[in-house]
């Protein structure tokens, strides 16, 4: 695609960076350290050892169970643009040799929101991890929460994924969450807040109600509100880790619990 050849303009400092520059920095602005959002395939490439990734349930595909207006078209569009079938990719692989089950939500597909297939993939991933005695690492870049177009089927995925997280913990297995770019609403209020350890990349926006949901309430916002740096001060996160150090941090944690 043509757009890939074009240089990127940093939304934070407006510095221009070439594609190869950003490849070297894992999509971090060389000038101001802004962490660009990462697509699921980029994240897997960055974190999982080369050639060790096996995807789970790649064929599970979102449909339109409630016949919700305009949903078919939206799904078709996102599927075409991303090449994905749902807003989360799951699988297993190794991180510096440590086997782990792995999930990564993709903001490009319905804003990374959770619906039937999404929830099912997360739960199957966790259940496989229990079977294989793997730790689980989930990356959330979900700006959307429970996906509106699948109604209560979506909302109940919050309970379903949380129940699976609970099971994983009861099995004594490690669960790490990494919040990247953004994580809100139903995703944040379920599996993404349940990690034994919660890590965020710098600048990540974290919360329950996003800007759109808050538009009706006029309230003065504290400086840095809902950023990872703000949230760690409030005791909501364990660490804010720069993308270049993330794989090492995860490796250290996996090593400790192995």
């Amino acid at each position: 695609m043509n757009s890939e050849v074009k240089n990127s303009i940093c939304p934070n400092c407006s510095a221009e960076a070439t594609k190869s520059e950003l490849e070297l920095t894992y999509k971090v602005c060389p000038k101001c350290d802004y962490h660009y959002p990462m697509a699921s395939d980029e994240r897997i490439k960055m974190i999982i050892d080369n050639g060790t990734f096996t995807e789970y349930d790649a064929d599970l595909e979102s449909s339109n169970p409630l016949n919700f207006p305009e949903y078919d078209e939206k799904l078709a569009k996102d599927k075409m643009l991303t090449g994905l079938k749902e807003a989360v990719v799951t699988g297993e692989g190794k991180i510096n040799g440590y086997p782990t089950a792995f999930g990564v939500t993709d903001y490009r597909f319905r804003m990374g929101s959770m619906a039937s297939v999404f929830g099912e993939k997360i739960v199957r991933c966790i259940e496989r991890a229990i079977e294989k005695r793997f730790p689980v690492i989930i990356f959330s870049s979900s700006g959307g929460g429970a996906r509106m177009q699948e109604g209560m089927l979506s909302l109940m995925q919050m309970a379903k994924t949380s129940a699976a997280c609970m099971k994983l913990k009861e099995e004594g297995l490690l669960y790490i969450v990494v919040l990247a770019s953004q994580s809100f609403a139903g995703v944040m209020a379920s599996f993404a807040s349940l990690g034994h350890i919660i890590i965020a990349e710098p600048g990540t926006r974290v919360g329950f109600t996003g800007e759109r949901g808050r538009s009706s309430i006029r309230q003065e916002l504290p400086e840095g509100f809902q950023t990872a740096e703000f949230m760690i001060e409030r005791g909501m996160l364990d660490m804010v880790v720069h993308r270049k150090d993330l794989k090492k941090t995860l490796t250290d944690l996996l090593k400790f619990f192995s």
């Binding site: 169970p65 099912e120 209560m152 919050m158 379903k160 009861e170 209020a189 109600t209 809902q226």
Partner: protein, 318 residues
């Protein structure tokens, strides 16, 4: 002030008023008109039943939010004896948008929870219109763990427009508080019953709603987000909320069909607020029947069933 119903119920209320006037007038005549009046009443009842049977999802949304509907506290006060209310999350504060405590329900010693929207304006403001803050979810969590410790079933009444969206809620970790409740409730080692009595608003409802059985009043709703919010996000206007309500499948009967909830509790004709005593009686019967069933199960079987109940929710295109 006399209750005049919702806008779409105008004809029903108007007719009821005229009927009452007619009866009064008839009583002043010498001729006996009781047969005629009975015939009119019978026909009216038929029409009325038909009217309430064919409500649109949006009309049910409006009924579910009606300020006259019985609140959690009405059910709790009527159904639970020897109540001791408990307060606070032991961390930050007490959240009046949820009440909780211990008491006896028809021979069962239970822990009860109830989301409270409040009644008059002052009361509604005090209860934040039923929007819970993190301390509310943590208060509920404390009581549920207490229930587990002492082996008492939990009865949770759900009625909220949603979890509090403001700055304060964020500062105190709203998503963490809700997420923790979902996880703990999914594995709590005592039976949990939830009853959606009015509005089951999104994650705010689910945060005290994960249970072995979800019961729902006939005119209650349970939805992923308010239809107005959906309309605004998808279509940039509030006007299409009725359409969103239709698309969501948020009524008790639709959710029963979808396998999301377990039981629809019948309401008095015209809604729970037209005959609160009867509504509360129906809810009581349903709670009793379900508690009998749940408490007879082995706890491991109960927990496995609960896990599978949520495990199976979702439509997969295979």
């Amino acid at each position: 002030m006399e209750y005049r119903g919702l806008e779409f119920e105008e004809k029903i209320f108007e007719f009821e008023k005229r009927l009452a006037e007619l009866k009064e007038l008839a009583s002043s005549f010498n001729t006996d008109l009781s047969a005629e009046i009975k015939a009119i009443e019978k026909q009216f009842l038929k029409e009325k039943k038909l009217f309430y049977l064919s409500l649109t999802p949006w009309q049910r949304v409006l009924i579910s939010r009606d300020s006259q509907r019985p609140r959690s506290s009405d059910y709790i006060n009527e159904l639970i004896k020897d109540k001791v209310e408990m307060f606070g999350d032991r961390i930050y504060g007490d959240d009046p948008a949820i009440i909780g405590g211990i008491g006896t329900f028809r021979g069962y010693k239970v822990v009860f929870l109830g989301q409270e929207k409040g009644r008059d304006t002052k009361d509604r403001i005090a209860k934040n219109f039923g929007y819970m803050h993190p301390e509310g979810y943590r208060k509920a969590l404390r009581l549920m763990k207490f229930a587990e410790k002492f082996g008492k079933p939990v009865i949770s009444f759900v009625d909220t427009p949603g979890a509090a969206p403001g700055v304060e809620a964020e500062l105190r970790g709203q998503p963490m508080a809700i997420g923790e409740n979902l996880a703990v409730m999914s594995a709590l080692k005592v039976p949990i019953l939830s009853i959606v009595i009015g509005e089951g608003g999104s994650g705010g409802a689910l945060g005290v709603g994960v249970s072995d059985k979800i019961l729902m009043l006939e005119n209650a709703i349970y939805c992923v987000c308010a239809p107005e919010t959906c309309s605004q996000i998808l279509w940039r206007s509030n006007d299409r909320a009725p359409e969103a309500a239709q698309a969501f499948k948020l009524t008790a009967n639709e959710l029963k069909k979808l396998g999301i909830i377990d039981e629809v509790i019948k309401e008095p004709l015209g809604g729970a607020h037209r005959d609160p005593k009867l509504a509360i009686k129906n809810v009581g019967q349903s709670i009793k029947r379900n508690l009998d069933e749940l408490t007879s199960l082995d706890i491991n079987e109960l927990l496995e069933r609960r896990y599978q109940k949520y495990r199976e929710i979702g439509v997969l295109d295979l």
